[in-house]
Each structure stands twice: as C-alpha cells, then as structure tokens.
Amino acid sequence: MITHNTLVVVLGCAALGVAAGAVGCFALLRGRALLADAMGHAALPGVVAAALLGAWWGTDPRALPPLLIGGAVAGALGLWAVQALSATGRIRQDAAIAVVLASFYALGVVGLSVVQAMPAGAQAGLSHFILGQAATMRAEDAWAAGLLAAFCLASTVALFPRLRALCFDAEFAALQGLNIRRTDAALMGLILLVCIAGLPAVGLVLVVALLVLPAATARMLNQRLPGMFMASAALGGLSGVLGALLSAGHAGWPTGAAVVLVGTAFFVASLLLRRA
C-alpha cells in the first residue's frame, strides 16, 4: 500500500511539521508570523543565485544543500531589509514586510527567467520551491529533515524559559537580566531555519502556514505554554503526515496545499470545539 518512497516523504514532512510546530509556537506568541512569510519569499533569489553559481561552477544544479544555503542567505538579507525599512520610522512593519516579500520574490522571478534560458532544465526543479513538491524528496532529504526537527526541538526546549520570558513580557524580562536581542535573534534564526527547510517540501508561498497553523490551533486548546508547545509540535507533525499522504494520493495536489488544508481543518475544528 505505502511505497518506500511515500514513506520517506511522509516521514520527512512529519519531521518538518514537528520542527515548524515547535518554533511556530514562539513565532506566533512573539508576533513574528508574517516575518516568516517575508523570509520565505525572500529566499527565492538566493536559491536561484545558488543554482546559477552552481551551473557556472559545474556542480549539480539540483543538489539541495547549496540551494538552501543560498536561500538562507537571501532570507537573512530580507530580514535585514525589513528591519532597515521599519527603522525609517515612516513605514510600519507591515508595509516593510510586504515590500521586501514582493520585491525579493520579483528578483527571484527575474532570476528564474534567466535560468530558463540555460540548459540542463534546472528551472523546473527551482520553480518547485514556490509551491513545494515533496514527492521528489529523497531519503537523505528526509534524514536531513529529521535532523532539523531534532535540532529545533532541542533548541526550543533548551531556550524554553528564555523564549517564554521574551514572548510574555520582553521589557520585564530585560529588567530581570534577559538578553533580549540575543534571544530574539535566536528565535529569528530558528524561524529562518524552518522556513528554508520547508521550501522544497511545501514551497515559499505556504511555508508561513506551517509555522502559524499548528501554533494557533494549539493556542485554542491550551491555556498554558508547555501544553501549547507540545500540542503545536504534535499537530505540526500530524498535519505533515496527513498532508503528505493526501498529496501522494492526488498527483495534481502540491504538497504544501495538502498540508495547509489539513492544518486549516484542525484549526477550524479547534475553533468550533472551543465554542461548544
């Protein structure tokens, strides 16, 4: 019934979901949900640039690690751009995020049209980063996703008290001696990590949902942070599994779309449950 390939994909998406749920819990509480959107979109030109460089140097343009590193660099640049624009004081963060998201993505689109002119059909693989295509996930990618999940879980657990203080009342925490900037930076780093890792599987348009949906659902069902955290990670993993299975069953459904729909179903269910 379930082929080896499908199993790989399902496990990979599960791991990704767990990582996203764990990190997303704090991203939601800290109000950073849409920064994840900006980072995801901003990663595209980095991915394309890495492919171009790879083609020029002669390496395999479809190898994942260099593409993801390129994406991470571009994502971090996008984050910097958002902070810089907000710092002008005339543009609020929502406008800064929208400008960065759209213009970096546009740069990526320009790059894609350049790559299109090149041989080796690298472009088809690249545009999968937009909507995701977990079906092409290989065993080593699933392992990498598993490692990522472990790392994110470990980090969030290790940083738990600091993250909790940061999210609840940053000013008070600062007075008590917490280094806000470093903790914030750590959180942004984890968000970036999850976004980039999620690109091949669910794509940049929908990766923000990976972070927000499980966390928002968990929030409805839990009044206290430890419960919310565990529920978020679990729901993320579950959405990943079910989404991957759905997408495997329907060839025309991008993985990202399937995972998001499952996650949304959970969210709506929790909304209704809470009211009942």
Partner: protein, 300 residues
Amino acid sequence: MTAFLQLDFAPLLAAILAGATCGLLGSFLVLRRESLLGDAITHAVLPGIVLGFFVTGARSGLPVLLGAALAALLAAAAITHLRRVARLEGGAATGIVFTGFFAAGLVLLDVTGARSVDLDVDCVLFGQMETLLWPQAEGLASLFDATALASLPRAVFMLAGVGLAVAASVAALWRPLKLLCFDAAYAQSIGLPVRLLDIALNLMLAAAAVAAFEAVGSILVVALLVAPAAAMRLITNRYNSQLLGGAGLGAGVAALGYALAGPLPAALGSAHAVNAAGAIGVLAGLVVGAAALAGRWRRA
C-alpha cells in the same frame, strides 16, 4: 513601430494601468497599516478565479471578477472574524486565511480540471504579459482605428475598466476615505458609513488584483500595491501628494520596469528577455530603498 505595437504596446499598457490602479489603492493599505491585506487578497482570490473560470472557461471576464470579489470579501471577513473570535493578532489571522484560501485554490485547480485547459499555476504566479499581443496593429494609425483597438487583448480592457471604476470611486469618496484611514472610530461617530466604505475598499482591491493578475501575476500585484505607496510615504507629508503620487509612481515603475526587461538584456548581449513582471517588482523595491535613503539624507 508596427513590431512595437504588435508585441509591446498591449503589455506596456496593461502594466501602466495595473501600476496606476494598484499604486492608487496601495496608499489606503499603507495608511491603514494593512499592507498585508493586499498580500492576503491577492492570494485569497485564487479559488474565486478558479471557480469563475470553471464556470465559463474564460480566463478574464465578469464571472472571474465576481468569483474573485466574493473570495476577497470572504477572506477579509474571515480575517476580521478570526481576530475577534480567536484573539489572534493581525498577522497570524491574515496568514492563516490567505494560505488556507490559496491552498484551496490550488487544489481546486486540480479538482476542476481547470489546470489542464488553460489556467495554470505559472500563469497565476508569474503573470503572462508576454502573451498580450495585438496582431491587428499596423503602424501608428492603428492607435486611432476603432476596429483595431477593439482587438486588443481582453485583459487590457478589464484593466482599463477596473482602473476607471477605481479612479472614479476614489474621487467620489475622497474625503470619507481620508477620514476612514486617519481615524475610523471618529468617522463612525460622526455618522460616516464606515463598514460600507471598508467593503468598498476591499472590493476595489479584489477587482484590481484580478485585473492585474493576468498581467503581472498574483504575487507581484503586492509589489505594485505597496511599494509605490510606501515610497511616497517616505517622501511626502501631504495626503493629496501621497495618493496621486502613488498612482503616478506605480504607472512609472511599471512602464520603466517593462522597458528594462526587454531592451536591457538585449543591450547586454543576451538574446533572452527577462521576466517583465519580475523586473517591475524589483524596480518597485529599489524605488522604496532609494526613497528611504533619500529621506535619511534629507533629514541628516
């Protein structure tokens, strides 16, 4: 001249119309700190477009516009509802709604079989300016020939229609909209129909998103919506300049971006043109960056 008219005139006109319309509406988003609503609506219209297309088989036209408008209103209502009921902060509510709608749209693309026919995801994401051709053009005279003009691509007419409607509505509602942006609670207290104005704005946004998506793709509509307005925010302190400047800058960026996408690569020796919508988006971002620097330099 004929080659220009046949290949470039329609896309250029579409780009300028999209830029002007979105540039005008964008100021309302930026002033109300709802820039991401533009992002949300451009994604959320997808299921509406797919269903409208499924019903009629036409990629642009009234059913698509209606489907998109309905989807946009539903999405905006869902965001407001979630913020209130689920106590989610704005960004999270927006993110959940637009990704949910967009994902539903992607699945609908497959389920309705729309993809195999004419509407595909690439079109939605990147736009298809290059396909806006005007084969009946022959020389400058065509610009004044009614029959030739009538054969311009439908997308251009839709953009022109929506652009005109938006401009007229904004002009007619000039002062109430200003008040709505500045202090909605006060506006309500003096008896302005705040909820209706809100709906009107969302409808205009949806119409612009749909009309422009065929030209520049859904995600780049966000660039045209927010960047010209954000740039004007950095430059001017006057409401009229903000609004009219946003429209003008939007049109200008669109035109310049389109021009740079074709001739520039050619000048650099490449035989291939660069995606025009992408070029416009990049230029829009650069303009904001330049405006930010100019503002800082002026203050220093």
